[in-house]
């Protein structure tokens, strides 16, 4: 397949029965994937799920124990060099030369991609502007902050515009502003025809960016689909009522359990009831609660989140932005 002529419905990344064993330990088990050209596919899973292992196999850094995968039609084992020509990878941990400056690192990557000095320098200047690296461009990478490193690392994988960009947890450790830059860069790259394969532990990130989400746990695919397909697997929307304290929760449950099927989450002081009829159900809940005298923090109509999806499908709650403020996307 000629990689210049990728049609829109063409699968750019295909994995078939991909497995990786470390000794007796099965890190990835029979993983299948198809990523269409120009789409964003997100691999979502908790720590140790096998995300990095999958990315490393697709980026030719690690050989699969069994199964096969192709990128732009090139086999990741037999045509590894050709795969490296079309893929750019930003691994989970910044992979830079600590004792070179940010600018020298970027220049080295551009030169290694084959550019002569002149155009390499122009490319690097563009990236320094885009990722706001100017301020620390001449500092040794070992002495810049974690988030700054991360930005240099991302810039380093964009010295060429790759056919496929693989990002392993690209926004972990970034401040909200830098996260916005990454998100908008990702969207622009997709506009420009780049296919994105990214991993994340953040549901919001997968939800906000991805066209297609693959949920994995313990090396196996747990569920896959568009964000809304995944959500609909979990069920309908619901009304959440949050009490100010434990006694309020008891009052709320008393008031609602007569008419509704309630689910109580004591940790979050939340009482949930199914709300298939939108506003009518919301109204019913509010009227049932009026005059009960329970102090209520919040009452809201909610669509199921990927959190719920995860909980339902794997029985565990993944890491979320819950405790980190300002993680929601800010639309400018």
């Amino acid at each position: 397949m000629s990689n210049d002529a990728i049609r829109n419905d063409e699968s750019v990344v295909v994995a078939k029965g991909l497995s990786k064993h470390f000794g007796d330990f099965v890190a990835v088990d029979n993983f299948n994937l198809e990523v269409k050209a120009g789409s964003i596919v997100s691999l979502l899973g908790p720590n140790g799920a096998g995300k990095t292992t999958i990315v490393r196999m697709l980026a030719t850094l690690s050989e699969p124990t069994s199964g096969s995968a192709t990128v732009c039609g090139y086999d990741v084992v037999r045509d590894a060099d050709a795969v490296r020509g079309v893929v750019s990878l930003t691994g989970q941990f910044a992979a830079l030369e600590d004792n070179l400056t940010a600018q020298e690192n970027l220049l080295l990557m551009a030169r290694l991609r084959g550019y002569p000095k002149g155009s390499a320098t122009r490319i690097v200047e563009g990236l320094i502007d885009r990722f706001d690296i100017g301020e620390f461009r001449d500092k040794l990478v070992k002495s810049v902050s974690g988030g700054q490193r991360r930005r240099v690392d991302l810039a380093a994988s964009l010295v060429v515009q790759p056919k496929v960009l693989m990002l392993d947890e690209p926004t972990t450790g970034l401040d909200p502003r830098s996260r916005q830059v990454v998100w908008s860069t990702i969207r622009e790259l997709v506009q420009a025809g780049v296919t994105l394969f990214l991993t994340t532990q953040y549901l919001e990130e997968a939800d906000a960016l991805a066209d297609h989400i693959v949920l994995i746990d313990h090396g196996r695919v747990v569920a896959a689909g568009t964000p809304s397909e995944l959500k609909s697997q979990i069920g309908d929307q619901r009304v959440d009522v949050v009490g100010v304290d434990a006694s309020a929760v008891v009052l709320i449950v008393d008031a609602l359990s007569a008419t509704f099927q309630v689910v109580v989450d004591h940790n979050r002081r939340t009482v949930s009831v199914p709300a298939p009829h939108d506003l009518a159900d919301l109204a019913a809940v509010t009227s049932a609660l009026s005059g009960v005298g329970a102090h209520i923090d919040e009452i809201a109509l909610r669509r199921p989140t990927l959190d719920d999806a995860f909980l339902a499908l794997t029985g565990q709650v993944p890491e979320s932005y819950e405790n980190e403020p300002a993680m929601k996307e800010v639309t400018p």
Binding site: R84, G91, L96, E97, L108, L112, R113, S119, V159, E188
Partner: protein, 280 residues
């Protein structure tokens, strides 16, 4: 940060250069990576001092402090010590190469290179060549210092070429060994530890500073068969014409050293390449 992709010099705007033939590519990439290694030397004070200050201190310390109590029959201590120090520098190359390799693997920068369309052979050869250049710097400093302080080698032009070739062979062997060790232990601290626990004592027992023949039974036995002894004895043989007595390898130091070096290369190179090409 407000720029959009359209307004910046987009990577795609620069035409990607045509890929040259594989040999040119290999040489170009190896060159770029060697330069990257050398660029970092002055920025890691410890690496710099390992190849400059440390050999200087050793030379001075042994020449003027311990040396005053050591008397070698028939030659000045300078002429005894300097070949020993040159041999020791070769052996310390194991530590230098190991630490540099372990560090590269730890920071993930090797993974970055491996994920680029760069010939993998160039990544590992640049590592080896860069290390050899770094060690040569240290060796030149030691030799220069020695000459200034009264070391007088006796070499014919042929002997000088023999000396250079032996040094180069030793450097290659010990550097490959170091690169392999660095990949196996994967931690620069552990590499330093191995250096101090194994290479350091072995280099002291190798007849570097005092003759092996005068040592007590156990150190003498170790020294007799220590590969580093062959190294030191052979450097001493080609630079001063001195013959060492003792075990077979000491009586035939040049042949033994060539044997050891080829053995190390024959074992380490394939192992290192295999590890490098398909590590996980």
């Amino acid at each position: 940060m407000t720029m959009t992709l359209a307004s910046m010099t987009r990577p795609g705007d620069e035409p990607l250069p045509r890929r040259p033939g594989s040999l040119r590519r290999f040489l170009r990439e190896t060159g770029l990576l060697i330069v990257r290694g050398l660029q970092t030397i002055p920025r890691v004070p410890q690496r710099l001092s390992d190849v400059t200050i440390q050999p200087l201190v050793f030379t001075l310390l042994f020449l003027y402090v311990f040396g005053s109590a050591i008397h070698i029959k028939g030659m000045s201590y300078q002429n005894y010590l300097l070949p020993g120090l040159l041999g020791q520098s070769l052996a310390f190359g194991v530590i230098g190469a190991g630490v540099a390799t372990a560090t590269d693997f730890n920071t993930g920068v090797i993974d970055r290179f491996r994920s680029l369309p760069v010939t993998r052979l160039s990544v590992i050869s640049s590592q080896v060549i860069g290390q050899i250049l770094e060690q040569i710097l240290g060796i030149v400093i030691v030799a220069g210092m020695g000459l200034a302080l009264g070391w007088r080698p006796h070499m014919s032009p042929f002997g000088f070429v023999e000396f250079l070739l032996l040094m180069l062979l030793g450097l290659s062997a010990f550097t490959w060994f170091g690169v392999l060790l660095g990949m196996i232990v994967k931690s620069s601290d552990a590499m330093q530890g191995i250096g101090f626990a194994i290479v350091f004592p072995l280099s002291f027992l190798a007849g570097t500073f005092v003759p092996i023949a005068g040592m007590k039974l156990i150190p003498r036995t170790i020294g007799d068969w220590d590969p580093l002894s062959a190294l030191v004895a052979s450097v001493r043989h080609v630079t001063q014409g001195t013959n060492t007595t003792g075990s077979w390898q000491l009586a035939h130091p040049v042949v033994s050293m060539i044997f050891w070096c080829f053995l190390i290369i024959a074992v380490c190179v394939p192992l290192a390449l295999r590890r490098f090409m398909n590590s996980n």
